[in-house]
């Protein structure tokens, strides 16, 4: 099944074009983190400290993805 990905700030340096990927039924955020790290090993350190949001809500590592989920990868923020 396909999910959509949104990348921001420093994470964009590693995934400039990746907008949609295929994951398996039952895959969670943990699996997505592994898939992204495999896709680009240089992203491991920033992914480790990033939060993930699905459909604009922060989710934990065990959150199970669904068809069409819009997943945002959010590196540590620094507003203000």
């Amino acid at each position: 099944m396909d999910i959509q990905l949104l990348f921001f700030a420093a994470v964009k340096d590693h995934f400039p074009d990746l907008k949609k990927i295929e994951v398996s039924e039952g895959d969670s955020i943990v699996h997505l983190r592994e898939i992204l790290t495999r896709t680009n090993p240089g992203s491991e350190s920033i992914l480790k400290v990033s939060r993930f949001a699905v459909n604009q809500s922060i989710v934990s590592d065990d959150f199970v993805l669904r068809e069409g989920s819009v997943v945002a990868v959010l590196p540590p923020s620094s507003g203000g």
Binding site: F8, A53, Q56, S77, S78, G79
Partner: protein
Amino acid sequence: MSVLEAHSHISSSPIFVSSQIPDIPEMGGFVVFSGIVRNLNEGKKVTHLEYEAYAPMANEMIRAILEDACKKWDLLHANCIHRVGKLGISEIAVIVETGSIHRAEAYESNRYIIDRVKHEVPIWKKEFYLDGSSEWSKGCAHESH
């Protein structure tokens, strides 16, 4: 919540400190905090910044933080606007306004709002330096990581 402003909390237009305060007769204390772009960070000369936001989520999170502040303190006014895009030195990056019957609530809630906005809201800062280099701010890692 009625004391919260209805407009967007994320702005691509310049933010200014207004000389006018909200017209609320019961309000005895009004606090304004402005976060300003400075020309130096960790010993490096900064020429300008760029702020990026996950705008719809950031807007909703700031709204929720203001609502939380209104639950914790008896506020008559609460607002926060964060800038995005390219900002020059001395421009306002963020503004937080709080108003209450007495000053204590206005001061405390204002600090609470800006601290949560800085730590939680998906807004990122890229610094551009005098030597031509640039770097995303490392930011505040969330407690859960």
